[in-house]
Amino acid sequence: MSTGGAVPSDPATGSATWQPDSTAILSVRDLKVDFVTDDGVVQAVRGVSWDVYEGEVLAIAGESGSGKSVSVLAAMGLLPPDARVSGSISHRGRELLGMPEKQLERLRGSAMSMVFQDPMTSLNPVMSVGDQIAEGARVHRKLRRKPARERAVELLDLVGIADAARRVDAYPHEFSGGMRQRAMIAMAIANDPDVLIADEPTTALDVTIQAQILDVLERARQAVDSALILITHDLGVVARTAHRLFVMYAGRTAETGMVDDVFEHPAHPYTAGLLAAIPRLDTPRGRRLIPIEGSPPSMLSPPPGCAFQPRCGRASDLCPKNPPPPLMLVSVPSHYSACHHPLTPLQTPIAEDSDV
């Protein structure tokens, strides 16, 4: 615990302060989300904690079904009413869980906003693109029709829609998938949010325009100077765009830290597996990409202990017994991993009663 005091960090959350003087905008603590379904209780998120700091790009990665979307939808207050949510989610210190809907509405689309995965279904087909972008400004800033429309043109222009003044009256079906996602991004930054959430914003798009849309997203983020939570399957995208990475597995934290640290010294075998599966320019020819064998568990009955253990080459008898807590790496204090047999050594667990 020699480094424990040097960098302020929170062992319970598995996340370190990203810059000494930066403030957390969104803080998630021990978030759990269950869905009661006909087949049983789906434990979509099982206790994760993370922070997003001012101006940073936090990537959340993990295979399908690991609870990435559910975590951020919980933060936006957009989960279906039958979801059971516990823990804490706070925005600049204000608790969002249990906040009355009226107050949440005031934060949504102004302080926090979101870009969804599928631009083909996420826009209202019977409302013009301009009206949909202007609506945010009308609702939050009480702008009148004309200034709101001017704002929409300005935003469309910012996200790279040519001839924005004319296109503002178009309907979604007159836009291509890429243009629609640009419009979604314009909508999301309409009120200068301080945190922007993008849930796999390029997955539904043609590969040839995915990079463009990520550029637009970054440009938009810089224009409003917000933090970005980028959910993605693609660690290549993480390497290019994110400052920090949070890896989820089966509703829990697997590993988190600065992108460079995690890429250089992955401690969790799952992260190492994901990294081995990225195509890289510096990969020697002939070496094959190795996908992780097996598939993620059903969240109706996740395996006991470490959920990754059935697929893990390093698993021992200990792994199915206790779920490993996220612990700081010995070498890098802002880097945490939840593994009994890490690839790089972790600090020993802090006893419950010791001071932090």
């Binding site: 979101m114 949909q132 609702v139 079906h173």
Partner: protein, 327 residues
Amino acid sequence: MLAYATRKLLISIPVLFFATLVAFLLVATVDPIAEQRVFLLSQPGGAEQVARLEASLGLDKPLVERYGTWLGDLARGDMGSSTENGRAVTTLLGEAIPVTLRLVVAATVISVVFGVAVGVVSAVRKYSVFDNVSTFFAFLFFAMPVFWLGAVLKDLGIRFNDWWGRRIFFTIGEQSPRLDADFWGTWADRAGHIILPALTLILIQLAATSRFQRSAMLDVLESDYVRTARAKGVPRHRVVTRHALRNALLPVVSYTGLTFGTLIGGTVVTEVVFNWQGMGRLFLDSLLDGDVAVSQGWLLAVGVSVIAVNLLTDLVYGLLDPRVRHG
């Protein structure tokens, strides 16, 4: 929108021609003198009489020629006249249509407005008391045959009048016979007459429309674009009215157009139950009397109204959905 409307209007023209053909054939292919024929042919010299009868009705001519003649007369506003009372079909229709139109328009407007409202509230407050109660009544009325519901309401109306000691609900006819009243008096009298028959049609239409609106609304409320609207911080009432309702009206508009024919059927039955002298009565009498010209005129009038209503729903749909009007 103008191009879309023009296109829809042009498509209606061949449909209209087709309707005239159907109206003509449905009636013309039935032998109007079937009974006389059997009787006359059993008599000596009957064959000649049959031939004379056929010639007087124009039945000796080929079908195509008869259709041509009928269409030509129609174009001049001559739909023939009743074989029963000799009155012009146009006159008979002119008397019956306004009576029925009153009923149909009142029932449609009220059932659509309330059906949409009930469906939306049911969907927004799914499984609430309101939703459950409206579901119960929707299935109850939906399962009821029109004539039966009409008869029940008529009976209830009579009991209510007896209990109240004054006639509030009229149960016979569309207005009091030999009524001598001013403009307002006439309409008040008509209102008293229309309540029960209109209610019969409204309850049944309302049941279907509200269920349809409810399921359309539930689908839309689950949609991604409604989630987007909520993610923008749009207040709930505005999400429902501005985003969800407009999309959820689309299937209901189509539905209302498609079931207009069924409504006409229900109207015929209701008019008979409440002794209205409208289109229902006219049709039934013409069938019973084998009154060819009246039946043909009636079918054509109803066909035209169905085409007009479908045109109207197409236009409303186009106003609501930019994908359709640009397509």
